[in-house]
Symmetry: D2
Subunit: 105 residues, 4 copies
Amino acid sequence: MPESQALDALRQFVLERDWGQFHSPSNLAKSISIEAGELLECFQWSDSPTSEVRDELADVLTYCYLLADRLELDPEEIVLNKLEKTREKYPVEKARGKSTKYDNL
Amino acid sequence: MPESQALDALRQFVLERDWGQFHSPSNLAKSISIEAGELLECFQWSDSPTSEVRDELADVLTYCYLLADRLELDPEEIVLNKLEKTREKYPVEKARGKSTKYDNL
Amino acid sequence: MPESQALDALRQFVLERDWGQFHSPSNLAKSISIEAGELLECFQWSDSPTSEVRDELADVLTYCYLLADRLELDPEEIVLNKLEKTREKYPVEKARGKSTKYDNL
Amino acid sequence: MPESQALDALRQFVLERDWGQFHSPSNLAKSISIEAGELLECFQWSDSPTSEVRDELADVLTYCYLLADRLELDPEEIVLNKLEKTREKYPVEKARGKSTKYDNL
């Protein structure tokens, strides 16, 4: 897996605190949802986010990196793989300029 | 911002389809929550995930990268910044081996 | 719509504070997700919930009632209607004792 | 607990299919988040919901009713109890017309 300063720091942080025991894939998936809700709260009553958006987005990314690591997945790689599937569902000529879901294009 | 093959591919993908118009920070934050729910669904009735976990985690990361880009934030940087704040809330001597929230340590 | 003491109290509460202006269906849907994340946080590291579970479940229900009201829907009625659709997707003889999704039964 | 036609029907539905085994409080809390994400998806790219909003809101309510039942809580009662706490955090004279969170009023 390519080097990532953030992931190295996260691994070290978790190891020092003996927190790996709580980081089952299931608990990490729950954590991603929990933090996604806190990120969304920055936009709860307005389309312009509160200043906490930086830290809340960081929290979602943190748990995503931890889950990817736990499942031995590379974030860059799985995003690129999924993008290829999305490319087939949304060919440019059909999807350009539309927010319609692929099964209604 | 450091090079990221995934982000470059995502930017190109969105540009080709003229989808930037739908990617307000607010819509991207909603999308992160939506995909986090789909990721969680891989663990709905069991702690062992279904095979869709790769693609669902990729979807959450995808929208996180797009939101970071839209807000001119670097994912690595904001994760490291937030980690420093978390380090202060959870000193090793107090937090080691416990899942307790910081206000109850 | 049948009488509901909780809904009456919520309507009064919102009216007194002139908060209806913030309660677009979109904002209420975001709020439901946000509160669902806080409810899930009661189970983040353990299958046994923290004591906040009562209030967090109340928050999800609160926004559900407000959204139903805003869309002129009756909670009891829409739950019963959806149940009929679910009954067709999960006939007892096929679904009994299994957590499998309907498209894999 | 007061009579609720929807809850009675849900209990019967779950019993017939022997699904109670999957309905731990933790799994139900996950389900609420999952369905909240599907509800939010009705508003993903627009403030006007798609037609699925009825069924998606019904799904969130369904799991909320099941979790309340599992924890021996009455939805009406916990909503009213929480409202009293919210009343103290948001006195009319301070909160009227504002979407500000209580710790910033």
